[in-house]
C-alpha cells in the first residue's frame, strides 16, 4: 500500500514538474506580444511604395496547478466486496492532481505606413464593422433608457 501511495505522489510531483516546465514557455509566448516586432509587419514593396502594417496586439493567459490528498472514505460494509471492507479506514489515502491553462491573442490593424516618392504617409485603417456595432449598441441603449424613463414619468403622473 505504501508503494502505491508513493507512486501516486511521484506521479503528482511529476505532473507539477511538467507544468513547471510548460509554464515559462507559455508565458514567453504571451509576453512576446510586448515586442515592437509584434505590432509592425515586415515591409512589403508594391510598385514604387513600401508598405508597413501597424496593428494593435492584445495577448493574455494564465495557468494553474493543484493537488490534494486525503484519507479514503470508510467503505460501506454492505455494498463493498469483503476485501474492500476489511481494509483499515484512514490508513489508505486517495488524491489527485491537475494542471490547466489557457490564453489567447488578438490583433487589429490600426494604420498603414506608406513610404513612397511623395514621402512618408500614415493612413488609418477604420474597422467599419466595429464602429457600426458600437453605434447600434449605443443607439439601442439610449432608446431603451428613453422608453423606460417615459414609462416611469407616465406612471408617476
Amino acid at each position: 500500500m505504501t508503494d502505491t501511495r508513493d507512486a501516486s505522489l511521484a506521479e503528482d510531483l511529476s505532473l507539477i514538474d511538467r507544468a513547471g516546465e510548460q509554464a515559462p514557455k507559455m508565458l514567453e509566448k504571451i509576453f512576446a506580444a510586448a515586442q515592437p516586432g509584434a505590432v509592425f509587419g515586415q515591409p512589403v514593396e508594391s510598385g514604387s511604395y513600401t508598405l508597413i502594417t501597424a496593428s494593435e496586439v492584445t495577448s493574455g493567459g494564465g495557468f494553474g496547478v493543484g493537488m490534494g490528498r486525503g484519507p479514503a472514505p470508510k467503505p460501506d460494509a454492505k455494498q463493498s466486496p469483503p476485501a474492500e471492507a476489511e481494509r483499515p479506514a484512514g490508513k489508505q489515502s486517495i488524491g489527485g492532481s491537475g494542471f490547466g491553462g489557457g490564453g489567447g491573442s488578438m490583433g487589429r490593424p490600426v494604420a498603414i505606413i506608406a513610404i513612397g516618392p511623395s514621402g512618408v504617409t500614415v493612413r488609418p485603417v477604420v474597422d467599419v464593422t466595429k464602429v457600426v456595432l458600437a453605434a447600434v449598441t449605443a443607439s439601442a441603449a439610449m432608446l431603451g433608457l428613453r422608453r423606460a424613463m417615459r414609462r416611469a414619468a407616465k406612471g408617476k403622473s
Partner: protein, 92 residues
C-alpha cells in the same frame, strides 16, 4: 519584475532610398505569478530624411470613434435622466 509596466520601444528601422523610418510602439504589460496580459499598440513613426527628423503620430481612428460613441451615449443618457427628473419635479 514589475506587476504593471508601460514601455515604449522602437522596431527595426526601415530605410528606403534616402528615407529612414523607425516605428515606435507602446506596450502595457501586466504580470502575475501564473499568467499575464499584454496590450501593445503603435504610437508613431520617426522619419529621418536629409538630416531632419519628424515624428508622425499613428492615430487609432476606430478606437476614437468607439470611445466617442460611448461618451455620446453616456452624455445623452445623463441629459435624458436630468430632463426626466425636472419634468417630474425631482420625484422620478
Amino acid at each position: 519584475m514589475d506587476v504593471v509596466a508601460a514601455r515604449e520601444a522602437s522596431a527595426e528601422p526601415v530605410t528606403v532610398h534616402d528615407v529612414t523610418v523607425t516605428p515606435w510602439s507602446r506596450a502595457l504589460v501586466v504580470r502575475w505569478p501564473k499568467g499575464g496580459f499584454v496590450w501593445n499598440r503603435p504610437t508613431a513613426v520617426l522619419v529621418e530624411q536629409d538630416g531632419q527628423a519628424r515624428r508622425i503620430p499613428i492615430v487609432d481612428v476606430t478606437r476614437i470613434l468607439q470611445v466617442g460613441l460611448l461618451g455620446l451615449a453616456i452624455l445623452t443618457a445623463g441629459a435624458s435622466l436630468l430632463g426626466c427628473r425636472r419634468r417630474t419635479g425631482g420625484a422620478a
